[in-house]
Amino acid sequence: MSDKLKNQNPQNAVEVEDLTVAYQEKPVLWDVDLHVPQGVLQAIIGPNGAGKTTLIKSILGLVKPSAGRILIYGQPYEEQRDLVAYVPQRGSVDWDFPTSVLDVVMMGRYGSLGWFKRPGKKEHQLALEALEKVGMSEFSRRQISQLSGGQQQRVFLARALTQDAQVYFMDEPFQGVDATTEKAIITLLKDLRAAGKTVLVVHHDLQTVSEYFDWVLLLNVRRISCGPVQEVFTDQNLKLAYGGKVSFLTHHTHTEQDQITNI
């Protein structure tokens, strides 16, 4: 399947081959292949410790893989950095840091600003536009410790938006956010897709996978399956990924939502 896709569309947004990562001899990711066509919303799902975050981090060069090849639009990541934006888990920083919302969002421009240059009017403008897109305009001057979890998440999304990238990697953006933020993120994801961007999202809520995403990667150290949601997000694959511990239903639709066990 992946070969076929590659032939059809040589311009896969993300291509990962044979990616293997180990922390002190314990494999975290094992021989993972991933081909993401341009313009899809891709969920990365799997149980805790499946290597979802590690996958993103090693694509971004934050974790050094033991083996593997990573291409963004056909070129090595180092050469395509401008095309990529990263939204880390919001719990990964100290929100008591002395800075404002606008300042954090402008950090998205630091890479393209170059050495010694301070953010100026243009960066200011871009940051305000990004905040507008996530519905956080009126918070621009707020100290970041005064934000709710959902607002923190939207600030991180806005920061990535200022990078004006082609491929977005988001690590659990839906984790512990309120309904307003969830809606805002969904709208944002759809806007990004409409603009031809590719988005990879580490996701936890199995109930919403088929509603929010069109592609899905099931991961548990190894790649269980990857492809369009209808084909891949099956009871059998879920069992393979999560083990026999949970009973899933084959059709994850709204009508049967009550019966679905959420992990």
């Binding site: 971004l60 990529v84 990263y86 880390p88 002395p98 630091y110 010694f116 301070r118």
Partner: protein
């Protein structure tokens, strides 16, 4: 007082000491701010202790007490200690706090052994090395001040140049790396600046207490502001104030050691900041909480009276205070709250001691409850 000041200032030694302490306060304050935000406050302690064997070895190798030589030795040894901490944390299962403790005590112990050894040797110039333990600002010379100023200016310049990179490194290093910033290089650069900042203060404050000059100004400054730029400026300012006032104090009062005096001045600034800072200060927060509580109590009593009034045909119907006490959470402070509401003409008390809402109070309570329902 101004007389005393100008008298002190005209004194060569005092002026030199004050200048030196001020510079060290500015530099360690600025770098300490970053160290605190990167959760590396304790690293400063390890670096300053780890510098001691470097001072001793530099002396043994050159038999010179030239500050440049000793500072160089201190810097190398402090740097080595830092590298050790980083590599131990990275390659073994030992956590950072244990690595810090290990390096600190091993280096410091080794330094003490070397110092004792030097004291037993017949070197003519050996005297004064032990002053590095608690610092002796009186020994500062004009030439030391020059070295400190030049190093200080270089450090501050680099911080200003790499300002946005250091900010992002401190806030979110992984994101910085994803943007392509050379995080490893920036990390080493910022840590090296911290090492130099600490080393130039060693002669004045001493290895044992130098870490206070890294941690304390930053902690005090953080209390007053929510912006990084202001915080670093304030941190430097606090460091300078503590350095200069400590230096003056110790030269006015005889036999008062400079280092500890500076640190005590700094601690006073921290104490004041912890208590009185706006927003974050303990007293400020206590006052704010009290105000909130009072407001909540007023609202609660108002709405209790409103509920009672709704239960009767006649709004004018009054109720004894016991009813309100039973309704209120915690059953306290109803008396005081009613008196307050009475002052605002929201409630009045009938001759038999029972309470009721006034027209004004009724409207306000009604308004409140409708708003509450809409939320």
């Amino acid at each position: 007082m101004p007389d005393l000041f100008s008298q002190l200032w005209s004194d060569y030694t005092v002026r030199t000491v004050a200048l030196g302490s001020g510079i060290l306060g500015i530099v360690s304050g600025a770098l300490g701010g970053f160290a605190m935000l990167r959760k590396q406050s304790l690293l400063g302690d390890a670096i300053s202790h780890a510098a001691l064997p470097g001072i001793a070895i530099a002396f043994l190798l050159t038999l010179s007490k030239s500050p440049l030589v000793l500072v160089l030795g201190a810097a190398l040894s402090g740097w080595l200690g830092t590298l050790l901490i980083i590599s131990v944390t990275r390659t073994t299962r030992i956590k950072e706090d244990s690595a810090l403790g290990l390096v600190l005590s091993v280096f410091f112990g080794f330094g003490l052994v070397l110092l004792t050894f030097i004291q037993r040797q017949p070197y003519a110039s050996k005297a004064g090395l032990d002053k590095f333990l608690f610092g002796q600002a009186a020994a500062l010379l004009q030439s030391d001040i020059w070295i400190m100023s030049i190093l200080g200016i270089i450090i501050l310049l680099i911080v200003a140049l790499f300002w946005k990179e250091f900010k992002l490194l401190s806030f979110n290093p992984e994101y910085a790396a994803s943007l392509g910033l050379p995080v490893r290089f920036l990390d080493i650069l910022l840590t090296s600046l911290l090492v130099i900042a600490i080393v130039i203060g060693l002669q004045t404050v001493g290895v044992v207490l130098m870490s206070a000059m890294v941690v304390a100004p930053a902690a005090a400054a953080r209390q007053w502001t929510d912006r990084l730029g202001k915080m670093i400026l304030l941190s430097s300012l606090f460091g300078a104030i503590a350095g200069i006032s400590g230096a003056f104090l110790s030269s006015t009062l005889e036999r008062l050691p400079t280092g500890p005096t500076i640190v005590i001045c700094m601690s006073l600034l921290v104490l004041i900041s912890l208590l009185f800072a706006t927003n974050r200060g303990l007293i400020w927060r206590w006052l704010k909480e009290r105000k909130n509580r009072q407001k909540l109590q007023v609202d609660a009593v108002l709405s209790d009276l409103y509920i009672l009034a709704q239960q009767h045909e006649n709004i004018e119907h009054s109720h004894p205070i016991e009813v309100l006490r039973t309704m209120s959470i915690g059953h306290g402070g109803v008396d005081r709250t009613l008196k307050e509401l009475q002052k605002e003409r929201m409630v009045d008390q009938k001759e038999d001691g029972t309470w009721r809402l006034t027209r004004q109070g009724f409207e306000k309570a009604k308004n409140m409850s409708e708003k509450g329902e809409n939320l």
